[in-house]
């Protein structure tokens, strides 16, 4: 029991450490990537003892600034809710990571096999959606408790947007659940390791391409970043966090990046085989053209973890690229896209998937 507890604490610590640092690094990535897109040099001034390292220390400078700034609560605001809101946002984005498998099973002699997944939940998909949905409460409460019309408008927009897009998001995932026959993310990843016809990995993108497109679009809306940054809408309503300062604002900022990472890991897990590498099995690589390269368990785990990280980072990169390229939707256009565009596509996808599975005899 103690042994299990220690393993879990170590795993959870590792995930939180990795994710928070990645979110911190995201501020740097955002600065640098936007700079590259916009033909600028980007942040490169912060230095520690003269070392600039391409401005990577700007994240630390940011954190210092946020912590030392005055925390202002506007007169007439609801103090409790105003304080609690940013914690809601960050908490619910962080706990999602518990259910995401980030590597294969690690075998250490003398110990139980360790699944590289903090919580092995049977209905992990449901858990993740529940947590993502709760995350919007942070935004609503922030908008409501600030006693500012702009913030309230941001909160309202966020509510409408989340509700509309979660429907499409959920239905897109149903296709994936049908194909892999489980809601356990670990299982879903395992089953994506199978090969179709002996050479094509059975990744979600292969079996459910439409669901992938719907999922990515809806998930982008879920992260509240351009082109779906209506709750923020800098040039229109400044954002639901307009009355926040200091680290409370910083937490909303962090939650934003965390959500981007959540969505990237989810897209990786559901559609790009999670930690799988094509033709890699627990005992080594088996290529369809006959090569066999045996590998040790530690290398297998390491490669799996690296594969997962690389895919997640690639998604973060794509999302960032989209964010810095596209303009923002208007409120009614956003609703149209969600309800009249993505929702029907997702439903049709589920129906078509069901028909194909029945024809192929996959349904008992």
């Amino acid at each position: 029991m103690t042994e299990l507890l220690i393993t879990k604490v170590i795993l959870a610590g590792f995930v939180v450490f990795a994710v928070l640092n990645l979110a911190g690094l995201h501020t740097w990535v955002e600065r640098k990537q936007s700079a590259l897109i916009q033909d600028r040099i980007g942040a490169n001034r912060a230095s520690i003892f003269g070392f600039r390292l391409f401005g990577i220390f700007h994240g630390i400078a940011d954190a210092l600034k946020m912590f030392t700034k005055e925390d202002v609560i506007p007169a007439g605001a609801n103090k409790t809710l105003h304080t609690v809101a940013p914690f809601f946002s960050v908490l619910f984005s962080l706990v999602v990571f518990a259910a995401i498998p980030f590597g294969p099973t690690l075998l250490i002699p003398g110990l139980e096999p360790i699944h590289l997944q903090v919580a092995k939940i049977d209905a992990a998909v449901l858990y993740i959606f529940a947590m993502l949905s709760l995350g919007v409460y942070g935004v609503i409460i922030a908008g409501f408790a600030s006693r500012n019309n702009y913030a309230l408008m941001g909160g309202l927009r966020a509510t409408a947007q989340m509700i509309s897009y979660e429907v499409a998001l959920g239905i897109a995932i149903i296709g994936v659940i049908m194909v892999y026959g489980t809601m356990d993310l670990g299982e879903i990843v395992d089953r994506q390791g199978h090969l179709i016809g002996g050479w094509l990995p059975m990744w979600g993108i292969v079996t459910q391409p439409i669901a992938f497109i719907v999922f990515t679009t809806a998930a982008l809306a879920e992260t509240k970043r351009a082109p779906f940054d209506l709750p923020e809408g800098e040039s229109e309503i400044i954002g639901y966090f307009v009355e926040y300062s200091g680290m409370k604002f910083g937490m909303f900022f962090l939650a934003d990046f965390l959500e981007t990472i959540v969505v990237a890991t989810l897209a990786t897990t559901l559609f790009f085989g999670g930690w799988q590498i094509p033709y890699m099995a627990a005992d080594g690589f088996h290529f369809p053209w006959g090569w066999d390269i045996p590998i040790d368990n530690w290398l297998y785990v390491l490669l799996g973890f690296l594969s997962f990280s690389a895919k997640t980072l690639a998604f973060c990169f794509v999302f960032m690229q989209i964010r810095w390229t596209l303009p923002r939707f208007r409120y009614d256009q956003l609703m149209d896209l969600g309800w009249k565009g993505l929702f029907p596509i997702a439903v049709v996808n589920v129906v078509v998937t069901a028909i194909i599975m029945t024809v192929m005899g996959k349904v008992g």
């Binding site: 019309n149 702009y150 800098e234 390229t325």
Partner: protein
């Protein structure tokens, strides 16, 4: 519990349910510190959810009595004040005031000065429209075009710095001519800029103009018919966006605009209705290409027809103008900038009245905004492209 109390037929034939819920319109104070008002414009909006029910623009936050100042400084001394009404097109403002003084006093301007005035006016038009393009991108939610626009704008500003030493408030054209001749190599760099700019312009086209989301956001939004535009007193790209071919450079040529070839782009409702935000935006984009075309021709004529160095007419140290009155309107990047000057034989204006395009253009907000969505309000204000320095003067 809310109860259904009555059913009402709308003009469109749809039924509207009137519920027994007490709702209250939200009052939103947009500005004077708001990113989308491009300065210190304040618009008091009332909104029913996202839809605006009324809009009330308040102006005057940076009124500096520019015209009154004109009665107390001599003609040359007033030039720096003209820089500051529409600070994004200071060159054109200088030219406008210089022209009206020349008309009242009968000063002869050397041809080289006139060509140089045209070159800088058109370059300033490009710089000003680039800013309009960039900030419009930001209004719609795309930040990258802003930086692209600024990249090329920087180059224009450097060109101006080389010819007059300033990057924003130029004070370059004075009654009688311009202060400096172009330094060596300046014309070559201007031509190089024009060539590079025409290529970069395509980037803007790909990035923003033809972007699906951008088109969706701007088409059919804030449509203004030609008649309405005339009623508002609109001039410049806003009026031309509504399909009216009226450009002072063509309608009442000043400087040497009758000697160069250029087109006047007008809005055709390419994406939606004539006179929508996209049309106004598009007119600005198309005008930039016409400007580089004019600049090329002016540079060629300037080098071929004129002698270097002759850029200022002979005039007394303190210019005095006999009792007279004159009006000159010029085509600023934002519309007609008119100066009405009355002199009484002294060294100052007896009275100077400025007709600013931004001030006239902004008057439409109370009519255009109600019924649109909050996000549209930002798109409409952006598409009118006002500079508050000139609204208030």
């Amino acid at each position: 519990m809310s109860q259904l109390t009555e059913e009402r037929m709308l003009d469109s034939g749809e039924k509207e349910l009137v519920l027994d819920v007490r709702t209250q319109d939200m009052e939103i104070n947009m500005g004077p510190q708001h990113p989308a008002t491009h300065g210190v414009l304040r618009v008091v909006l009332t909104a029913d959810g996202e839809i605006l029910t009324s809009a009330d623009p308040h102006v005057g936050y940076i009124h500096r009595c520019a015209e009154k100042v004109g009665e107390n400084v001599d003609f040359d001394g007033y030039i720096p004040y003209t820089d500051r009404y529409d600070y994004l097109s200071a060159m054109n403002n200088n030219v406008g005031f210089a022209l009206v003084v020349e008309k009242a006093s009968g000063l002869e301007v050397p041809p080289r000065a006139t060509w140089l005035r045209m070159i800088v006016s058109e370059l300033n038009r490009v710089a000003s429209h680039l800013l309009a393009f960039g900030t419009y991108g930001i209004d719609i939610g795309a930040i990258t075009p802003f930086l692209y626009g600024f990249r090329e704008r920087e180059w224009v500003l450097s060109l101006f710095e080389k010819i007059c030493g300033a990057r924003l408030t130029y004070s370059y054209a004075f009654p009688g001519g311009v202060i400096n001749d172009a330094p060596g190599g300046w014309f070559d760099e201007v031509l190089k800029f024009c060539d590079v700019f025409d290529r970069k312009w395509r980037e803007y086209d790909d990035l923003l103009t033809r972007n699906k989301i951008f088109i969706e956001r701007t088409k059919d939004v804030g449509s203004v018919t030609a008649d309405q535009a005339r009623e508002f007193g609109w001039t410049g790209p806003c009026l031309r966006g509504s399909g009216v071919r009226y450009d002072l450079r063509e309608a009442q040529p000043y400087l040497f605009y009758d000697q160069v070839g250029f087109d006047v782009p007008i809005g055709r409702g390419e994406m939606g209705t004539v006179g929508d935000c996209w049309d106004r935006y598009w007119v600005r984009m198309a005008e930039m290409l016409q400007s580089t075309r004019i600049v090329r021709e002016c540079v060629e004529r300037c080098i071929k027809d004129t002698t270097p160095g002759e850029v200022m007419a002979k005039k007394p140290k303190t210019l005095k103008v006999a009792a007279n009155e004159a009006y000159v309107g010029i085509e600023n990047p934002r519309g007609e900038l008119g100066h009405y000057l009355v002199t009484d034989g002294g060294a100052q204006c007896f009275r100077i009245k400025v007709r600013g395009p931004s001030f006239t253009n902004v008057s439409c907000l109370a009519k255009l905004l109600p019924g649109t969505m909050l996000a549209d309000a930002v798109a409409i204000i952006g598409s009118i492209d006002i500079v508050l320095g000139e609204v208030d003067r």
